[in-house]
């Protein structure tokens, strides 16, 4: 019998490592899933490596299904230590692959993680721009 959720999804869902809040986060992205009503918040601490801005730390809060929680946790792992530009290249397919698999009806949950990331990075750029002015 093929289980509904892959082993990795269950592992991440039952024992997420990256949930919580970063108190002095440099940027926060909050997105909602228009389809089923889930909410996700990503907190990012920006650092520098070799002159480039990287994601030094990232944490999430997700109110959603098991797939949404697992993809949030996985997305955090996938982008940690990456430059902002690299992080934005992570799409939902990469997240799903890292999780083993997702039921077809749950694909949209993984899109949420990617949207959250995008929102956080965009917020960061917008903040920097307004500070320069």
């Amino acid at each position: 019998m093929k289980p509904y959720y892959s082993r990795e999804v269950i592992k991440r869902f039952t024992n997420p490592k990256n949930f919580g809040e970063i108190k002095n986060a440099d940027t926060v992205g909050k997105v909602g899933n228009p389809r089923c009503g889930d909410i996700m918040k990503l907190y990012i601490k920006i650092g520098r490596k070799g002159g480039k801005e990287i994601i030094e730390d990232i944490k999430f809060h997700t109110l959603g299904c098991a797939a949404a929680i697992a993809t949030s946790d996985m997305a955090c792992d996938l982008v940690k230590g990456k430059t902002l530009r690299e992080a934005l290249k992570i799409d939902y397919k990469k997240i799903i692959k890292a999780l083993g698999d997702l039921p077809p009806i749950k694909i949209h949950c993984s899109v949420l993680a990617r949207e959250g990331l995008k929102a956080a990075v965009e917020n960061y750029y917008a903040k920097k721009k307004s500070q320069k002015k």
Binding site: F19, D38, K41, H61, L63, G64
Partner: protein
């Protein structure tokens, strides 16, 4: 890991006594009820005896019971059969906003065929007001169909009063009694119904058998045309093993329902009280008293229902939710929305339904683990 089944409203295991009654009808008494030879006639008499048994259980005449394949079929049969047989009288049908999808969807289809559907609201407990039914019935109304007890929130409707109004107005009255049948006493004459649907697999019988009670003299068109079985109202070779099992399940319920109901009510209230006292931000859905003895439905702040169900499943506990995340259409339960819950609140819903083999120790186990699960998920959500 121990397994705890708390999803009896989805389906029940077959009672071993029922299985025993069914067995001969698979390979010893296997004839076709329409055959004239001994093989067929033997089975035909078992079918008629089963009909009597089921009729007797709800105070009906045997020839008022039609066996069907599922409650979905019975409900489709009622709506479409009454609509098409009575369309010269009128084209309006009154239903509630908390019906099972098989009524909702049939009604919607009838709308596309030129019928008019009136959908009645419910109060915050999920109850329909008889006064609303009275106001909704007009000259063109041919049928009122109201679910007896909600499959989701367990609320029991004032069916007798609604039936009385329909009778006075000369309108057919149907109730979908799938969840109440076998759990609370039902007598078609005292509750004033003309039509009633019930299903075997929700009351410890096998899947594949259901009934439609049709009061004598009711004008209805068949859904299935063919060999003329079931008094010409439901052509199909009758699924005799399942029907025999269904009848046996009724026999058992007749004897044990009262005691079982008292016992389940106790367990239900223990679980409800326990959840309310142990989990802050928990709210009971449905009526506190006028509810099925086995139904519990809550919503919790700051968590999503599917994730609760998966966490419980990992501990061997089977439950269900009305959250959008668990539905194929990604929409929250229409019943929870109808009782006034916001999308976010329905999102955090959990249904636990008890049954014949639920033990107190199982209830206590749920009360031990559920608060931890909710707390953990709230940490992950940050209660946003």
């Amino acid at each position: 890991m121990k397994k705890i089944y708390l999803d009896y409203a989805a389906t029940t295991p077959v009672d071993p006594r029922v299985t025993r009654a069914m067995l001969p009808y698979f390979n010893k008494k296997f004839g076709n009820t329409m055959s004239l030879h001994g093989f067929g006639q033997e089975v035909k008499s078992a079918l008629e005896q089963s009909r009597e048994e089921v009729a007797n259980f709800i105070g009906a005449e045997p020839n008022e019971i039609i066996f069907t394949g599922s409650a979905t079929e019975s409900n489709n049969f009622v709506l479409k059969g009454i609509a098409f047989a009575n369309r010269n009288k009128g084209r309006n049908i009154v239903i509630s906003s908390i019906e099972h999808p098989c009524i909702m969807e049939s009604a919607e289809w009838l709308e596309s065929q030129g019928f008019e559907i009136t959908r009645l609201p419910v109060d915050k407990y999920g109850q329909i007001s008889p006064g609303d039914v009275e106001k909704a019935i007009k000259k063109e109304t041919i049928l009122v169909s109201i679910i007896h007890a909600s499959n989701e929130i367990g609320t029991i409707q004032p069916i007798k009063e609604i039936g009385k109004i329909c009778r006075e107005k000369g309108v057919y009255f149907h109730t979908d009694a799938v969840q109440s049948f076998g759990k609370i006493p039902l007598d078609v004459n005292s509750i004033n119904v003309d039509l009633l649907s019930a299903s075997s697999h929700k009351m410890y019988g096998p899947k594949g058998a259901a009934i439609l009670f049709i009061r004598k003299g009711t004008k209805i068109e068949p859904l299935l045309h063919g060999g003329g079985q079931e008094m010409g109202l439901r052509s199909s070779t009758v699924n005799v093993p399942a029907v025999v099992g269904f009848a046996e399940a009724c026999k058992i319920a007749k004897k044990e329902m009262k005691k079982e109901g008292t016992n389940l009510t106790k367990l239900r209230d223990r679980l409800i009280k326990g959840i309310l006292s142990k989990i802050p931000g928990s709210y009971l859905n449905g009526h506190p008293q006028k509810r099925l003895p086995n139904n519990i439905n809550f919503w919790f702040e700051g968590v999503e229902g599917e994730s609760i169900v998966i966490q419980l499943d990992l501990l061997g506990i089977a439950a269900s939710t009305g959250s959008a995340c668990s539905s194929a259409k990604l929409e929250p339960s229409h019943v929870l929305l109808a009782i006034g819950l916001k999308h976010e609140q329905a999102h955090g819903s959990l249904r636990l339904t008890l049954g014949r083999w639920t033990k107190k120790s199982e209830i206590d186990y749920v009360l031990k683990v559920l608060p931890q699960i909710i707390q953990k998920l709230r940490k992950i959500s940050g209660k946003i």
